[in-house]
């Protein structure tokens, strides 16, 4: 039985002036699955992620998320309908503590008005505590209790990545986009991060689309892999299929002719 797809990318093309970042890229991602996008540098992976949550506007093509067709989505709509993401270069709010950063991830769910917030009374103080409870669960889940009050600027790189994941999870997304969640980490940190991604996927049923360069990790955790090269999709399939795909091997290793 085929599973329902949560995200479908249809014939998406994106160019910056003369540079074609994406050319007719299509794929779909099933509900509760982990999909990895791989490809050499400059293949258009991050651009693709940016198209999915509306940071870039594709010239052609459409995104179908949970059966809704989007032509020109803006990031706010994407966030509202349940997509959250992390960035390749950590995009945390440097001046805030870990706790505040993660709480920011819940801002869409906060309703208190200006006056209520000004007096910290009624809806506002109630909400702050409710959301704090959810955030604390995420903090427990990602094992970052010890740093909850630390300003994020003071944290080491690996923990910053983890805080960014926490912030994305705080929105209780249905689709999580991760842009190189393990870049620059050592083996142990990569193992931790892989475990968190698998746990998120299993426990919360969140679908994950991730970009990653570490092939070991990609092969281990993903259900499906999409390979991009020069803005075009050159392969799609399970890890095993990709391993034996001649075009993918050529793109990575070069062709001798």
């Amino acid at each position: 039985m085929t599973k329902k797809s949560i995200l479908q990318v249809n014939e998406v093309s994106l160019s910056f002036g003369g540079v074609k970042a994406l050319k007719n890229v299509s794929f779909n991602s099933e509900e509760k699955s982990i999909l990895a996008i791989i490809g050499p540098n400059g293949a258009g992976k991050s651009s693709l992620l940016n198209v999915i949550n509306g940071v870039y506007k594709p010239q052609q093509g459409e995104i179908i998320f949970k059966n809704t067709v989007w032509k020109n989505v803006i990031p706010f709509q994407a966030a509202q309908s349940g997509i959250s993401r992390t960035f390749q270069n950590i995009a945390l709010f440097k001046g805030m503590s870990v706790l505040e950063n993660i709480l920011t991830g819940r801002s869409l769910k906060m309703r208190a008005g200006l006056l209520s917030q000004g007096f910290y009374f009624g809806a506002c103080s109630r909400e702050e505590i409710e959301h704090r409870e959810v955030v604390e669960q995420i903090i427990d889940f990602l094992q970052i209790q010890h740093i909850r009050k630390t300003p994020v600027g003071r944290l080491p790189y690996g923990l910053q990545k983890r805080v960014e994941l926490a912030r994305a999870l705080a929105a209780e997304p249905e689709l999580l986009l991760l842009d190189e969640p393990m870049a620059g980490m050592n083996v142990e940190e990569k193992e931790d991060m892989s475990r968190f991604i698998l746990d998120v996927n299993e426990e919360y049923g969140t679908s994950v689309v991730l970009i990653e360069h570490d092939m070991g990790v990609v092969m281990d955790i993903s259900d499906k892999i999409v390979v991009l090269d020069y803005g075009q999709k050159i392969g799609e399939g399970t890890p095993n299929e990709i391993k034996n795909n001649q075009r993918v091997i050529d793109a990575y290793l070069g062709v001798s002719d």
Binding site: T104, Q117, E127, A171
Partner: protein, 358 residues
């Protein structure tokens, strides 16, 4: 040894999220409020109240307003004095045209008027940022005083453009002595400072800081950038407007549009730079530094000259004062670019361990 939170356990998130989670801070704030509300009105002379403390409080409020916009929401503004002018003249006109209105209501309405003007001048921030935005707010700084002079209605057709404020009256009670005016200003400033603190520790404040630190990430999380920035302009201008009204009513008594010039805007900007960008307390420290230091230097230089038996030529004192003042600003910015508030924070962290090394 004394500033230590050991043994103070928090049993709920509510306790953990209190404004002052540490007992020593609570005691400190109570002491400061007691001094401000009880000791100073009893002990301070009229000169101290009118020439030093009231302006200090008024400037603190304006700096606080600017700090919400620049320090928390990251939008640079050079129009603070213009927004203060809007507040002052709005309050004047509300009092003039609706004479039975309590002063407090006029101040609030003046703040709201300024908020609307502020939002209008904040619209360019949706497209431009940083220095370019500062130049756009400069437009407000030149346009608003010009408009207030040009359209006679605002100044009630006063030929010189100078307005003399009505007595501050709330339901028959007239604030006619410096101590009463000080009390009124202090109450308003303390209340608005509390509101500001609440705003920055709740969702709106986090949204402001998110927009300031990384606007793309903020947008992706679902923060409406446009709305957040405009609310920042609105709230900030409200504070500046109330500060402007108090500047006219409680401090000077008569003001003219040209008094709210770029110089004043820069003074307030310096206050938040020296006090601490993105800190409520920094606004007060910065205002204290800029308003009190010149007076202090004046005394030191004059006394010093007397002790050393030097005869200073007229004007030398004021020039020396400017020199030292400028030097100190540069010194502070090099030593601690994040301002006095950061120095205080470092001191607190050190105090937590003192006198033990670990």
């Amino acid at each position: 040894m004394f500033y230590r939170e050991a043994g103070q356990f928090k049993k709920s998130y509510k306790e953990d999220q209190a404004i002052l989670p540490i007992l020593q801070d609570k005691i400190g704030v109570v002491v400061i409020l007691l001094i401000a509300f009880v000791a100073i009105p009893i002990l301070a002379s009229d000169y101290w109240l009118t020439a030093i403390l009231i302006p200090f409080l008024v400037f603190s409020l304006a700096a606080l307003g600017l700090n919400l916009l620049t320090g928390y929401a990251g939008q640079l503004s050079l129009g603070t004095a213009a927004f203060m002018a809007v507040g002052a003249f709005a309050a004047y006109n509300f009092e003039l045209r609706l004479p039975y209105m309590p002063a407090l209501v006029s101040f609030v309405l003046a703040g709201l008027t300024t908020a609307i003007v502020g939002i209008a001048f904040g619209i360019p921030s949706l497209r431009i940022r940083g220095f370019y935005l500062a130049v756009a707010t400069l437009a407000a700084q030149f346009f608003i005083p010009w408009l207030l002079v040009k359209v006679g209605w605002f100044t009630n057709y006063s030929s010189s453009g100078v307005i003399t404020t009505q007595p501050i009256e709330i339901l028959g009670f007239v604030f006619d002595s410096p101590a009463k005016r000080y009390f009124l200003v202090l109450s308003i400033v303390a209340f608005l400072a509390l509101v500001a603190k609440n705003l920055v520790r709740s969702n709106l404040g986090r949204a402001w800081m998110a927009v300031r630190d990384m606007d793309v990430a903020a947008e992706v999380i679902g923060i409406k950038i446009m709305r957040t920035k405009l609310i920042a302009f609105g709230v900030s201008s409200f504070y500046c407007g109330v500060a402007g009204a108090l500047y006219a009513y409680a401090y000077l008594g008569s003001v003219e549009p040209d008094g709210f010039n770029l110089d004043l805007s820069f003074r307030i900007l310096f206050m938040i730079i020296i006090g601490g960008i993105g800190s409520i307390m920094g606004s007060f420290l910065g205002a204290a530094f800029i308003t009190l230091l010149p007076i202090f230097l004046d005394i030191v230089i004059n006394e010093g000259a007397e002790i050393l038996n030097l005869k200073l030529a007229a004007g030398v004192t004021s020039i020396m004062q400017l020199l030292v003042f400028g030097g100190l600003i540069i010194f502070f910015l090099i030593v601690e670019p994040l301002g006095l508030a950061r120095l205080w924070q470092i001191a607190k962290e050190k105090l937590r361990l003192w006198p033990f090394p670990h």
